[in-house]
Amino acid sequence: MNWILKIAPKWLTKIDTFLRINYVWIWATRIHLMLYFCLLLTLFFALIFGIYPLDIKNLLNVRDISNYYIPLLIPAFLLMGFYVFQAVLFNPDKRYTRGKNWHSIVVFLCMQLGMFLPFLIPFSTAVILNVKIANIVSDEEFIKDRNSFLTCGFYLHNASDYFGYYENDDAYLKSDNKIYFEPLFRRNGQNYDDYEKKALRDSIYFHKGVFKNNRPKLYRNANVTTDDLYLNSEFLKNPFIKTKLDSAVLDFYIEQNINFSDEVAVNQIGKLNYLLSKYSYFDLIDATKIINDKKNNNYIGYNFKSSTYSYNNYENYDYTADYYYNSKLNDLNSTLTNIVVAKANFIPRSISSFISVMFYVTYFLTVLILLFKWINWKQFLLFLLIIGVLLALIGVFEAIFSFRGFLILNIGLLFLIVGFIFTFKSYVSKTFKWWNNQWSIFIFLFMPNIFIFLLGYFSVVLNFWHWDYFKQKYYKNQYNGYDWSWQYTEEFYKLQSQVSFYSFHSGLLMFVLLLPFLHKVFMRLHALPKRS
């Protein structure tokens, strides 16, 4: 990496010299150069995408951001490979240094950071684009526009999926509502009849002919919650919209009894036209033409074709929606969704997931590289060969005799115990023995996964996750009555996932804390005289 120093500013050269003569174990990781190089590239790309012009009428979405992010991953991976090469060039550990064993912890962290840093380049690009999208309109302005859109969308019959057709009260109550709600009520010890009364009061169904030649009132289906009305699953999880959505819009959905006068409809469609001119390149909607068309025809939504209710009228399907405005509204909805997603998430969710995956990938790569630095590469290859053959054999036996994980877990536990014994022997041994070394390698690689392995052993072999305390009766609605079974509560599954999470991560942490000991073991093994 000396070429970096040639083009580096003086302060970096000074840092390089300072680290080399004072903290050589950090210097050897080349983290300072990587930090400088990656930050420089990150800033460069951030600047490029910072000045990249965004068009509000043709806005990038998360997938579009990925189109920039993914190509930048290629140089990021190459840079990571280059860093690995650099990090193994200088290997003070094999030179019988007079350093401290705890240095290995810092070295590990530096190396992981060094491998992780290249991913800042595409990451910053995504963040910059996302921030730019989020700030393309101010929060206040956007909330206003979004509220307009959510409200006036109803005037164009756009949300018919959330309303059902029922011939009478009984049909409505015995529909999905009952099947869905009754077991829940029973489970919670509540009275379903009370609910039915409330549902009848709050939910009005649409019946053919009632609103003939008038624009129908649309009422909420009882099993559609307020949250569902956010139209898009992204919105359900979206903290931005949940906290900032104007209460008037919520009231609108809850009350639902809207006066659909022509005047109000024209006004609302006018708002839509404003949004269309602001957020898209589409032509504006002709309000008068649509209202006249709706008045002269009794249209129903796509949902009404459902064969369950034996009402199937393809002729009356609202083709006008497709003709006049569906694509426009979808596009508008998509643009507004992109903005709200960007406002709600500083980092696009798919990218933040990738980054967290890379954290674990770089962790385990660092484990391997550190091992590679501490041992002879031939011993490393021998270990891969042995473990490969062993795993293949265990896999074959597992498959043939259907051990369902019992064999591999029991062998794993046995190896763990034997491995610890031999690793301790390595620590006190006076001559080098290849099998001591192999067992130490096994323990080294096993250590980050030790707790999750033990949890797996407890779960599969000892049936650890069998706690009656967390069981509850689960009612299921059958046509001939109700049935129930014992099932675990939600808390149980939460507990299970938390225990797994902490087992896994405490293993990762413990490995790092045990590095000084493992370092000592391998340095002792490295120093021992060999037979030839």
Binding site: I21, N22, V24, W25, R95, Y96, T431, F432, A527
Partner: protein
């Protein structure tokens, strides 16, 4: 201690009088390094050495060297005036390593019952033909391979270093094939000092000292690929000596060097291992017998895995009552045999010329006389009676 100081001063004054600035610059550095001289004096000695190397590189002698000579005289006077103390007076007779009856079998080769002692600041030359166990012995002593029999004991009673991991922090082994390194010479040497715990200003001083001391001033910014094999070896020695190892093992260091480079390297090794501040025990293997003998305190001659000689070269004469002479000249084997026909001698023809073995009933002087009287003109002559070279002879 005063004697040592005076000896050093005299040595430098003599070299200065003879205009041997190369020697002056090197020994001046050694003097300021070993004795409690001021930081300025130490730095001056390094700068002057750098100047000398630069002048040499640029071919600027004459006036430039005259100026340098004056500067050296001034520096020497300032050192003489303050009469500094010796920084550390190490026990030169300390036994660093005791190897007893070590045996090792590697395939069909057997190293048999070798015993030796490594004394602080002393030089041991391991000589012998190819495949006779020199490198194997070095590998055993460096803890690279185990012994089948016998013991190798380091620092017994001197330090608390007991495990190989600890012992190896004080040993340095430079193999014949030098590993590639990265960066430039300065950074590489500084890095090696740092990993051995020499940090801060001490690191800067130690790096500069060894670079200029070993004549690498003009190469400090060179990379591996820009150096010749001779300078690669120098860099390797520099990166080792910079952290003051207690034992330095060199496997065939002279193999790729020209005669001048060999002489210079051996002189530097002799000076640096005899450092008063950080004496180094040096073991080197070589086939350049004469050169090794000139600097080694002890020579071990290995033949077929056995030690056929282990001691001072002066002891060799006691082995035999014969003279072994090497010679060549403008004459034939027949001329030489005819000339020595009355003497009890054995004459062998070899690539260098002739090897003559004669008993001590005649002196070397009479040998010359008889050649002269027969008009045999010599072009090369060497008395190897007290050289291990004669051990190559089959009778050993």
């Amino acid at each position: 201690m005063d004697d040592i100081f005076e000896l050093r001063i005299n040595e430098i004054e003599l070299a200065l009088a003879n205009d041997d600035l190369n020697r002056v610059s090197r020994r001046m550095m050694d003097l300021t390094h070993d004795f409690d001289c001021s930081a300025d004096q130490k730095m001056e000695s390094i700068i002057f050495r750098e100047k000398y190397n630069l002048n040499k590189e640029l071919g600027k002698s004459g006036n430039n060297n005259q100026v340098l000579k004056t500067e050296y005289a001034n520096l020497l006077n300032s050192v003489k005036n303050i009469h500094p103390n010796l920084l550390v007076l190490n026990n030169q007779s300390e036994i660093i390593c005791n190897a007893t009856d070590i045996s090792k079998t590697l395939g069909s080769f057997v190293l048999q019952k070798i015993s030796l002692q490594l004394q602080r600041g002393k030089i041991i030359g391991l000589v012998g033909e190819n495949g006779n166990g020199k490198t194997t012995l070095l590998r055993v002593l460096s803890g690279e391979i185990t012994v089948d029999d016998g013991t190798v004991e380091y620092f017994s009673g001197i330090t608390k270093l007991t495990t190989w991991e600890e012992i190896k922090t004080e040993l340095a082994f430079i193999p014949q094939r030098i590993e590639r390194w990265w960066g430039n010479v300065y950074d590489y040497i500084s890095y090696n000092a740092a990993i051995k715990g020499i940090s801060g200003d001490e690191n800067i001083y130690a790096t500069n000292f060894i670079i200029h001391r070993l004549g690498l001033s003009n190469f400090k910014n060179h990379s591996w690929s820009q150096l010749s094999s001779g300078y690669k070896l120098r860099v390797e020695i520099a990166k080792t000596l910079v952290w003051n190892p207690k034992v330095l093992m060199l496997d065939e260091p002279l193999a790729n060097l020209d005669l001048m480079a060999q002489e210079l390297l051996l002189q530097d090794l002799k000076d640096l291992t005899a450092s008063l501040k950080h004496p180094v025990t040096l073991i080197l293997t070589s086939q350049q017998l004469h050169e090794v003998e000139t600097i080694a305190d002890t020579v071990i001659f290995l033949k077929n895995g056995r030690s056929v000689f282990n001691g001072n070269t002066d002891d060799l004469e006691k082995l035999e009552q014969d003279y072994t002479l090497e010679l060549d000249g403008k004459f034939t084997y027949h001329d030489l045999a005819k000339c020595l026909s009355d003497w009890k001698v054995k004459i062998e023809k070899n690539s260098l010329g002739y090897t003559v073995l004669m008993d001590k009933s005649h002196s070397v002087k009479s040998f010359f006389e008889i050649l002269l009287s027969n008009n045999l003109e010599l072009t090369y002559f060497r008395n190897i009676s007290n050289s291990t070279k004669k051990l190559f002879n089959d009778k050993y």
